[in-house]
């Protein structure tokens, strides 16, 4: 039974998604469609990692994404002594804080690269803030959000473009 329901759901959501005037962000629900029906590009959006000029990374998995600070940012901050995690349910727009990372005596805001709703903060950092120094772009993620518009992620910097902004200085 369950598998039948699962099989039907994509079709239902497809019908639903197509009824309203097709949004410009039609890429957003792409992952919900049965494979092949609506692929816009050869590289699927699932599992995309992007960067911001303010040194955050975001890694998309479906419509969820993890956010953290880049290795470069972690290095230039030095030893992280405290991480402020966002509250679950917090709604953020792009560029709004989803937490803060404190080192020595600087507290740096962590800004959400895209709009979304916070699903969780990384509790590991509550006890061990230095995880950010050890693994800024892995274990040291800061927040997981449900992304409002997946297309917004795509517009961010890719790794090469980000590294270029870092090298300028």
């Amino acid at each position: 039974m369950a598998s039948v329901a699962r099989a039907f759901r994509p079709i239902a959501s497809r019908a639903f998604a197509q009824k309203p005037v097709a949004p410009i962000s039609a890429v957003a629900p792409a992952f919900r469609f049965p494979r092949g029906t609506r692929s816009f590009s050869q590289s699927p959006l699932a599992q995309v990692k992007k960067y911001t000029e303010s040194h955050e990374w975001i890694e998309l998995d479906g419509n969820k994404a993890k956010i953290g600070i880049t290795k470069y940012a972690a290095n230039s901050l030095g030893d992280v002594v405290f991480v402020e995690l966002p509250e679950v349910g917090l709604e953020v727009s792009a560029g709004e804080p989803v937490g803060a990372v404190e080192s020595v005596k600087s507290a740096s805001d962590v800004l959400s690269p895209v709009a979304g709703t916070v699903i969780s903060g990384n509790a590991v950092l509550e006890d061990n803030a230095k995880t950010i120094n050890a693994s800024a772009e892995g274990e040291g993620w800061i927040a997981e959000i449900e992304v409002s518009d997946v297309a917004e992620v795509e517009a961010l910097l890719d790794e090469a473009a980000y590294l270029e902004t870092v090298e300028e200085h």
């Binding site: 000029e53 303010s54 230039s76 901050l77 030095g78 405290f82 402020e84 995690l85 966002p86 509250e87 917090l90 560029g95 804080p97 989803v98 937490g99 803060a100 404190e102 080192s103 020595v104 005596k105 600087s106 507290a107 740096s108 805001d109 800004l111 517009a155 200085h169």
Partner: protein, 279 residues
């Protein structure tokens, strides 16, 4: 690049300085946002089209105030000031509640309390202390967050040198001096960054006036460490105004000498009205 210096010669309410600082950081962030949206459209930024705001240092002494840093508060990144009117205090200030909350209609509290978003923990600011807040784009100056803290500390160490005092840094942040057999803290440091725009800065004790207030708390989470001041170390006839002037000079010197970013080639004085006028 030019650097603006706003010195507030009289004791100023902390909230007023906060407001000024907020107005300035907003201006920096707005500029960054605009410049960023232009560059993301891959159009060249027209030089001189919208010049970035000048880096600014505010020097002042507030009315007695205890401020807390981010670590002393529950997550609060959307609202730095709690609505509960001084009633709920962060843990480190609970022991001195009687100093902060009026106990009757005709009783004025001895000190204010302001939560802030800076790094570092609970500290005290007040008359007899030179507080310097640096509102700048670290990126433009070629400073990493860590270097910025070091510049702040080194600027203070350079001032101390002028008074023939040897200041140093330890594993604990801030600037320390040797007083007999004890290491004492003369300057606290705490900074907030958003998109590389810094705010807050240092508090350097000039006279002994702040000492009583420091004794009431465990400053910066450091148990058993004492504070001291220039006066406490034997410097005579020293005032906040003079130290403020020196801080800006030493800060500019340090930035220009130690870093490869854009140089500061002029310092000019501004008034409060200049900063609030054209936003």
């Amino acid at each position: 690049m030019r650097l603006a210096h706003l010195h507030l010669p009289h004791t100023t309410p902390f909230a007023r300085v906060s407001e000024l600082q907020q107005a300035l950081t907003t201006r920096f962030l707005t500029h960054k946002k605009l410049a960023g949206s232009i560059s993301s459209q891959t159009q060249p930024i027209v030089p001189g089209n919208a010049p970035p705001p000048d880096p600014t240092i505010i020097t002042f002494s507030p009315n007695p105030v205890y401020t807390t840093g981010r670590r002393d508060l529950p997550p609060s990144n959307t609202c730095p000031y709690s609505e509960s009117n001084n009633i709920s205090l962060p843990l480190p200030l609970e022991p001195i509640r009687s100093l902060l909350v009026p106990s009757g209609p005709n009783h004025t509290p001895k000190a204010e309390y302001h939560p802030t978003l800076r790094g570092g923990q609970t500290t005290y600011h007040g008359p007899g202390q030179m507080v310097a807040y640096t509102i700048l784009d670290l990126r433009r100056l070629g400073l990493t967050p860590r270097c910025h803290i070091r510049v702040l500390e080194n600027s203070v160490i350079d001032i101390l040198k002028q008074y023939e005092i040897r200041g140093f840094t330890t594993a604990d942040p801030g600037v320390w001096v040797q007083d007999g057999s004890a290491e004492k803290k003369i300057t606290a440091v705490g900074v907030h960054l958003r998109r590389n725009i810094s705010s807050f800065g240092v508090g350097l004790n000039v006279t002994e006036e702040p000492m009583w207030f420091f004794k009431q708390i465990v400053a910066c989470g450091l148990e058993g460490k004492e504070a001291t001041s220039l006066q406490g170390l034997g410097v005579k006839d020293v005032g906040v105004d003079e130290v403020a002037e020196r801080f800006v000079e030493r800060f500019v010197e340090r930035v220009n000498r130690d870093f490869t970013g854009e140089k500061i080639n002029e310092v000019y004085s501004v008034q409060e009205s200049d900063l609030l006028g054209s936003s």
